[in-house]
């Protein structure tokens, strides 16, 4: 059985959990990503000022 995540463990506020790897390439939020791609293909990225060396 999967161990329940302990929210009350204040010793570490971040913890690695490799079981989350299954979500890396899983089709999720597809509508949102498609919409984001549509917007970006239309407007592009902001023009960045070159940093002084």
């Amino acid at each position: 059985m999967k161990k329940k995540k302990n929210n009350n463990d204040k010793r570490l506020m971040v913890e690695i959990d490799n079981s989350l790897e299954k979500y890396v390439d899983m089709p999720l939020f597809e509508e949102k990503v498609n919409e984001a791609n549509r917007i970006l293909s239309k407007v592009g990225l902001p023009k960045e000022k070159k940093k002084n060396k």
Partner: protein, 146 residues
């Protein structure tokens, strides 16, 4: 600035994060994912509630768990962790609904003076990106570590 936030779980690539929201509706498991977009160097930020017993994520559900600020602070923490791993990437964010986009806007507004110390923040309005300013309703946001 340290805001109250939830403990966060992440996998090696730091593209997926999970945390539990705790409130009057009980414990709600939330998943955050940064998805590579077609434009090189840009990732989409999305998060939603994990449906119990499935691998599905609902990004339109309104949890009403009384912890919006803590949830947003936790998402901001994920952004911080992600951009430390991928410092030159842009993060694109838009709410799944207009009220949710407004909620993100309010979150950015409230802590803008802190956020701009480490991040460039842009808002999309009338088809153009502009430096984020308070009091303007944007359609989407772009964030990048300075």
């Amino acid at each position: 600035m340290e805001l109250p936030r939830y403990k966060i779980f992440y996998e090696r690539s730091r593209r997926v994060f999970e945390f539990n929201s705790v409130g009057p509706k009980g414990e709600i498991s939330k998943l955050i994912r940064f998805t590579k977009m077609r434009v090189k160097g840009v990732f989409n930020l999305a998060f939603g509630d994990k449906k119990p017993g499935t691998n599905e994520i609902d990004d339109e559900v309104i949890s009403n768990n009384g912890d919006t600020r803590k949830v947003l602070a936790t998402v901001a923490n994920a952004v911080d962790m992600f951009t430390r791993e991928y410092p030159s990437t842009w993060i694109f964010a838009v709410g799944s609904t207009r009220p949710r986009t407004r909620l993100y806007q309010m979150g950015i507004n409230k802590y803008l003076h802190e956020i701009v110390k480490d991040f460039e923040v842009y808002g999309l309005i009338d088809g153009e990106w502009q430096k984020f300013r308070s009091g303007i309703m944007y359609e989407a946001f772009l964030v990048k570590r300075k």
